[in-house]
Amino acid sequence: MQKNENIVLHADRVSKIYPGTKALDNVSFDVRRGKVNVLIGENGAGKSTLMKIIAGIERPSSGRIILEGKEVSFKDTTEARAYGIGIIHQELSLFPNLNVYQNIFMANEKTIYNLALDNKQHVTETIKVLDRLEYPLNPETLVGDLRVGQQQMIEIARNLIQKNLKILIMDEPTSSLSEQEVEVLFKIIRELTASGISIVYISHRLEEIMRIGDYVTILRDGRFVAEEEVKNINVPWIVQQMVGQEKSYKRKEREIDWSKRETVLNVKNMKLPKSGGGFLLDDVSFNLKKGEILGIYGLMGSGRTEIFECLMGLRPEFTGTVELEGKAIKISNVSEQIDRGFAVIPEDRQREGLVQTMDIGRNISLSSLTRYMKGMFIDFKKEDQKINEQIKDIRIKVADKRLPILSLSGGNQQKVVIGKGILTEPKILLLDEPSRGIDIGAKTEVFDIIHQYAERGLSIIVISSELKEILAIADRIIVLSNGIKTDELTGEEITEDRLVLASYKGHRKHHTNEKGEK
């Protein structure tokens, strides 16, 4: 191929064959210099595989990688890094046991005479790079103590300190970021591209791609589908290319007079102290009607997940009153809360939702085993029947329910976690980012499931950081910001603008307070 100044890296007819499947089939891909090259496709389309090959994590079964006109082949990521290719993984690959600067300079340490670590330099450079990211953090903080969004920034910082960085691959960098953090990230991306660094950007969020992307390449089932400049296309076109048909989530308006519905849950003055002063939740009150879908919108660190943690008994130290069906309850531990009719679908599916060593069926029935007893023993027939019902009810695509849980795709794994919660026959279902990391098709299905259960009278609280998603799904939305409830919207009031506005309010209020006190 000809050397083209505008193309920094060219993947030439790359294939990757795993035992039994072809993850990539003859895909060619150009990384254009100083541009944001977006790669889109549903889960399993081969995006991540292609990225892994470019970043040196996997080797192609056939095909070539040409970097600035020269064919290259990377043994591992270290070698790829030496060539100036950095990657930010979807699943963060940081060391929670080490602090911020140790993480940033891991395997790239500055030393004094090649012997002692030069931690002074580490700290100053860390402060510098974090300033550049407009994300000041104490360099000595343990990464394990940071929220996911903050950790993402560390991942980026880690690549930025690379001197000869030419290509930065970002695999779903925004999936755990708040809107505010996304803005920062986009600004950084703009700066990077302006300085000649090429970005490869993978994302499920199409609006984002329209904003930040320059070129779009679409993959489907491991094959190349289309490539286009972003200015020539729109979201429906992308979706059509991705799935072969047009899909988007529509808002389902429900004609219900909520004032006549009974209140299932009433939370008053929920307060949760933060270690080291301040509050994670500051006087939050809200209620939940029977059959209602209540959305909680807020940025990273706004206290949204903490509400669930309080309700589930993971934070028994919170103060305030919680009334379940009119009766005040004292919340002390998880299993008691489940018995009372609460169920939670945690944000992090792999770490908190699934037991990877158990099969699909047992992951579904785990929460409700004690309901299927014959004397002292589990009544396997009844358990089996319940699992089957649930698999059918929430349409989990599964060949055999005794297969390992990891044999399911992300979307189906998520449905398993939801199914587990629903099998406990809850009164209140708490969903924390239920569509995180799953493809559009599965997302719509998850939304349908949520609606279906709300129609049957289940009361649901959904946390989401995706505007479009929460708009489509919730009957009513409360907005949290910095631990404070800043807005509550129903029906017509629900607009993107108002949500975004409210999601910053808490910080402003806080700042003025501080000033006032001083």
Partner: protein, 368 residues
Amino acid sequence: MCWHHTRDTASIIPMKKEKSNMAAGTKKLTKNDIIMSLLKGRTFIVLIILVLFFSFAAPNFFTASSLLLIAKHVALYGILGIGMTYVIITGGIDLSVGSIVGLGGMIAGGLINEGLRMFGYTAYLNVPSIVIVTIAFGALVGLLNGFIITRFKVAAFIATLGTMYIARGFAMLRSNGATFSNIVGKEALGNTGFEFFGRNILGIPVGAIILLIIAVISGIILKNTPFGWHVQSIGGNEKAAKLSGVKTNRVKRLVYMFSGMCAAIVGIITASQLVASHPASGETWEMNAIAAAVLGGTSMSGGVGTIGGTIVGAFVIGVINDGMVMCGVSEFWQMIIKGVVIIVAVLIDQFQRNLQNRMALQSREENK
């Protein structure tokens, strides 16, 4: 009970089902499937090979008397191994079991020979009461383990390392390091019959019978009760288990308690077999228990393991130990060989797990 460590009810039947499924789906039985079934049965295969080998190598190996001796030893490792399997499945470890064996033996032996001195009187308990008291002590040490681990979030390795020394120390203190010998009791005191646990019934050692009973009960609990599944869920993903409503701390405490009880039972059996209790008995036996569990396919990272596997593992350890003695292999070589066997077993285990994961991911792709 079967010997491989997946959750299939019986080893052979589901395998057949798989095959017929494959046939129905007009799929060939792949090489992976065959390797898999061989891998799942590896410990059993190893056991058979060992038995055959020693039968030829040591002419007196395959005789009733030596097999009886092996069964006696296997009973000890097996019972310890069962408790250990439960602990390891929750993702923990129990290093204190060897010391509890010693302590249990000293408590039982002391109660028989010296009785219970209180308020200037000496009370002699009958044997069933002694057994109950001893097991209760084992449970107590186990509960202490569980309490330290769950209440103070101390790593299981450290907590049980501590209680290992504590229990051993108390065992030594009981007699100032001396042995209680001839613990048969006296007719006049009504505490005879302790040797029973070291005897044979219909040619089978009582210890082996106790092992069988414990194995069946604990196997059923692990497989057929919510408690058993909660144990497995904790080792698989403790956080998810907790959010699913599993009372993780309670389950863990019970599991360590059970392990302590198993160790106390072994203490009784071994004291009874020797008709003497020595405070140093059971030293390093925790390692045999861990080895039995691991050989039986219990994953040290938790979540996976079966009682049946551990029993086979205990047999492998027992056969290697006694077989090599009968062949006249030096004690030093025995250690080396045992170590090699354990490492190889874990290597194969990892290989199998990788294969299993690969097959899972493969079917995930196929389902797309």
